[in-house]
Symmetry: C2
Subunit: 386 residues, 2 copies
């Protein structure tokens, strides 16, 4: 399972002491070859963290042998010192695993604006390198957790190759990409171009369709490493399908573990004029605090779905309001411009809630996942840094 | 005070029985002349309520003698029957106060998607007409409350004329316009064109700069009635100033009473390339659940301010991240791309919190107000319809 499921990868996760809690907080993933293809998708946030700059730079070259990841500190908004620290992490990892600093990607997650304690990080990297093993994927997944309550891992074997992955993230999941770090590994042989396209395609329909609280992180990074150790050259279609399956599995695990959530909500918009229109319509619902609080309360207050849909500009998402229909958990609640019988009696007691909106304006269909807004969300996020 | 502060207006607020609680739920505001100028600003929501259509129609003619308002039901997403009910309210009000149905504006607020019980509404309109008095402004302000805990009223006397107003709204305050109903009255003599422009200008910098929970209502309506009873012709500048002052006072009262809020937060963005850029930057912060939950927790987790700012596209809001500086409650927390001393020790115990962001990219400055995200917000909004 996890990043060590494919052949030719080792990993580890250890307690360096970055977190006060004593929980694991530093992970390594090492590609032992024979090939060292690497791709990454990173946050569009303009205040992105120091390690994000470094990882983008490495990804441009398309080649990496190792990824070092820490939890307990985001190294974001930390200025020049933060950049120096990120480069130091790459150098120390390179020295420990025997590669060039330019072949190491770096990921950090945790509180924004605090400096990393580099003595601790340096000692941790040595310890993590010593612990590397071809069954270390689970330990690595545990070491990148922040407010996550369970590690997230996935793997798929298909057409002679394997894709494995791990991710973390339980809050700050966002309209552009979730807060999250993910490392996906594969023993397929693929070109850098195919790896990058497969990763982008997989991320677009999984991590990017998850909107937990509408907030976008400074540190979001998804990395794909490919080494050809299976001896199988994967087609682009096969690789994309497998990467998408792993990303989707990780996405659903992250939603199920979202900070303080008690419901997972799938908002599906069909009959849209375009995929962009469908996604915009779904996101306007998944980002409504009023709707999400109502679901927490088990209250089928469906007017909040329509009131959210109504905020979309017509040029962004055309529809005729008399033609729009909405169902919750399969029960029709609104059609022909008016409420339907049974609208107020929808049962929301189960963990999974579905909202199906038919815009009757085209053929496109998109699902965006979110969760409810709960007391526990407020509690966890009101006391995160202190 | 309230809508009966200017000469030539009567008002009332009574219990019709629309609300189960027995609290006041129906209000009338009547313009006794000699002039009957009317203007309105209404929600851009595409699923706007039946009374919003009716009120827009009346406002296009620029003439109204009465406004009837009910709480306890929004008459939104109610189809043809909802439109018939809104017109019936106008007809019954016209019959009671002695004017044409086309001279009556209608406002409704409450749960979306439920039909009004028209027998109760009809009897209530008769009762409210009987109760009309030139000191009825306070009763009217009470009768339009939903989850508000206090009525909101304001008045300004200047340059020989008076402007009075009332509003309701404590949640669903939004990026385009707050959920809210407001009626502003004045005894100044002004043209329809001046009234409409003054109202738009006042709303733009008050109600439209309040973002409580990012949600936009189906029923938002702000009405201005002017009758010239003071005998004074107001200049456009004087009227605009007075209307803006009343709208701003009502805005601050609504924020202070926002559902479940324990802090009022003023986010001021200066040094922006344009007013639109400044407003976009401020709104990206006021709409961050993570930031708002941190303020509730008294936690100066300022990284969430920068992470929100970072989501703005560069063409929408240009800035150089090394030049951006941020202060909370007057304490510098971020400058030159790095945290400042004292960033983690900002005291957030007072009710009012200020966030000052200098983008160092121009001269424009905008303040947007919001409130914190609290347990009480989740509680009130998870159990609103049931």
């Amino acid at each position: 399972m996890s990043v060590t499921a494919p052949a030719g990868f080792t990993a580890s996760g250890i307690t360096a002491g970055i977190k006060d809690s004593g929980k694991p907080d530093l992970a390594l993933v090492v590609n032992t070859g024979p090939e060292f293809v690497a791709a990454a998708v990173t946050t569009p946030n303009r205040f992105c963290a120091a390690p994000v700059y470094l990882t983008r730079e490495v990804a441009e070259g398309g080649r990496a042998k190792a990824v070092v990841l820490n939890s307990g500190g985001a190294n974001a908004c930390t200025g020049e010192r933060g950049m120096d620290d990120a480069y130091a992490m790459a150098e120390q990892t390179a020295a420990q695993v025997g590669c060039e600093p330019g072949e190491v990607m770096v990921c950090s997650t945790g509180l924004i604006g605090a400096f990393l304690l580099m003595d601790i990080v340096t000692a941790g990297i040595a310890q993590a390198a010593y612990a590397l093993s071809d069954s270390g994927g689970e330990d690595a997944a545990v070491a990148i957790m922040t407010t996550d309550t369970v590690p997230k891992t996935a793997q798929v074997s298909t057409a002679g190759f394997t894709v494995g992955g791990m991710s973390k993230g339980a809050g700050m999941l966002n309209p552009a990409m979730a807060t999250m770090l993910a490392v996906i590994t594969t023993d397929a042989a693929v070109s850098v171009e195919v790896a990058q396209r497969a990763l982008q395609a997989g991320v677009a329909v999984s991590f990017n369709r998850m909107d937990s609280d509408g907030c976008q992180s400074t540190n979001d990074t998804v990395i794909l490493l490919a080494n050809g150790a299976s001896g199988v050259s994967a087609s682009e279609a096969d690789l994309t399908a497998a990467v998408t399956e792993v990303c989707t599995s990780l996405t659903k695990q992250m939603l199920a573990d979202a900070e303080g959530a008690s419901h997972t909500i799938a908002v599906t918009v069909s009959g849209a004029a375009s995929e962009a229109a469908a996604e915009a319509a779904a996101r306007t619902v998944t980002s409504s605090n009023l709707f999400k609080a109502a679901i927490f309360g088990g209250d089928p207050n469906w007017g909040r779905i329509l009131s959210a849909l109504g905020t979309l500009p017509e040029d962004e998402c055309p529809y005729d309001r008399e033609a729009v229909s909405v169902a919750m958990n399969g029960t029709p609640i609104f059609a022909g411009g008016a409420p339907q019988d049974g609208a107020s009696s929808v049962d929301l007691s189960a963990h999974d809630v579905t909202v199906d909106i038919d815009l009757a304006a085209g053929e496109a269909c998109v699902t965006v996942w979110t969760n409810d807004l709960t007391h526990d969300y407020v509690e966890e996020n009101s006391a995160y840094s202190t």
